[in-house]
Each structure stands twice: as C-alpha cells, then as structure tokens.
Symmetry: C2
Subunit: 133 residues, 2 copies
Amino acid sequence: MIKLTAQRQAILDMINQSNQHWDAEILARALSDAGHSIGIATIYRGLTALEQAGLIQAMHLGDKKRYERSDKAHHDHLVCGSCGSIEEFFDEQIEQRQRHVASQYHFQMNGHQLLIFGICQQCLKLSVKGEQS
Amino acid sequence: MIKLTAQRQAILDMINQSNQHWDAEILARALSDAGHSIGIATIYRGLTALEQAGLIQAMHLGDKKRYERSDKAHHDHLVCGSCGSIEEFFDEQIEQRQRHVASQYHFQMNGHQLLIFGICQQCLKLSVKGEQS
DNA sequence: GTTATTATTGATAATAGTTATCGTTCTTGG
DNA sequence: CCAAGAACGATAACTATTATCAATAATAAC
Ligand SMILES: [Mn+2]
Ligand SMILES: [Mn+2]
Ligand SMILES: [Zn+2]
Ligand SMILES: [Zn+2]
C-alpha cells in the first residue's frame, strides 16, 4: 500500500496532467519550475514506488526510463528519430499475434514493448521544405 | 569502409560464431578467456564501428545495449525475466501490421523493436517442480 | 500527549554503462 | 624508409540510476 506523500502526489499530478513520456531529469526540472523543489533521489524513488503501485507506467527508451500516465489503455509507440516526439497507437491484431507467438513457444507472456522507429509526419514535411536549398 | 583490424575481427568472429546477444562487458570477458586481451574502449568502439558497417546488429535491452550476428533474417525477441534467456521469433503478420500502422500515421518507419517479456518454458517447468516444497 | 518506532526525505557518495581524451602504436601510400 | 592518418589502450569523464546516512516527518504505543 503506497503512501502518497506530498512529493509523490506532486510527481503523480505532473504526470497525470500531461501526455508526456517523462524521464526523471526532465520531470525534476518541471516540478522545480512549478515550485516544488524535490530532491532527485526522491524523484527516482517516487517514480519507482508509483510504478509498483500501478499508478504510473514505465518503458525503456534508449538509455533512459520514461514514465507516463497509467489511466489510459495499453498502447505502443512510434518514436521519431529526428525530433524525439512519441506518437501512440494500438493495434489489436498485433496484440493477438503476440499472444499467439507466445503460446506457440510455451512462453508465459506478462508484457511487451513495441517501438516503431522512424521519422514523424511533421519532420518529413520540414525536411522536404529544407531540401530546396 | 570499415577497416577490419585484428581486434575488430576477433570481436566479429566471437559474435558470428554464436547465437548470443552480447553486451560489451560479457564479450570482453569471453574474448579475454579466448586469449585476446582487448581494451574495453576498443570493444565499445569496435562494436559501434561493426554495427555502422552492418556487420552486426544491435538492440537495447533494459539498461544495456546488446549485439548479435547480422547474417540472420530480421526477428524479434521473447525475453525471460527469470533466467534472462532470449528466444527469437518472426511473424509476418506483425511486420505487415506495423507497416500498416506507420503508413496510417504518415510515419516513415525505418526500424522497430518488439520485446515480449515473460517466463520461458524451461523456467515454468522448474517453478512447477519447485512449488511442491 | 509525550515517547518510541518506522518511513521518507535530501544531500551526496557510489555504481554501471558508455564515451572522450590523449599519448603510443600500427598501417599505408609516397 | 617516412610522414600522415587510423586505431589502440589506459584511464578520466560523463550519464543515468541506486545506495548511504543523518535529519525530518508520520504513525503507533503507552
Ligand atoms: Mn505512451
Ligand atoms: Mn536475436
Ligand atoms: Zn519528428
Ligand atoms: Zn527462463
């Protein structure tokens, strides 16, 4: 049973009030800007505690762990290698097939992570414009 | 054009002669055991160079980067959270659907990573036996 | 309602994985 | 040969994260 201290509540609120995929450092800066000065160790501990309590969800992207709200349904991510933006999608057929593959391998699946890498629509437009130099 | 020095060749051979998903540290130890004493910085640089040359392929798993042979067809991974073993699979329907999702979002996909987490068959068997204590 | 117990915090040290620096060594084309 | 560039190895530096520990806050016992 997690204890929602003032610091943890601030972390949770910040995450719940956005659609971002936060890492610890960015979150600490945002909280600081919002008037909460929370030690970086407390941020890390709070994120871990909130994740274990199921109040936020986490994923690994590159070398850092990112956190987002857990009050939205499961989804996967399109990651833009140019601007770093992250779009979300859900595809039931992919989910189904994953369950199928797991059962074929007698593998007891308890989660998955699908990242699609590439260039987002925005960045594609910009690069087309930029090319007429 | 990559230059295959003795060190890089040793790294490449070690990777090509196995089906493992190597991280830098484990690889360094294996090379050392095999008689090649290669500086850890050279290992990291070599892995990066070999990856850029397309001679090996890489993926992020948790907090470390893993490398494997690139002479096998694209595949995704089942990762056992108990013993750490990695099984490989390929599912054309999942691949297709990913392309479909990307095009729907006007996203120019140039790669993806699908990790399925869970417990492998081996570990499931062992845990069943262990439970009759 | 004080006191003892326990949990949490924040500063900071420590760790893990990786990259940068730099002097030395190896290649290679002239 | 020999000069120029590439690669190497030791190690410092860096980034993300966890551990330590004294101080503080919350909770439980009398
Ligand atoms: Mn998301
Ligand atoms: Mn593989
Ligand atoms: Zn973009
Ligand atoms: Zn296993």
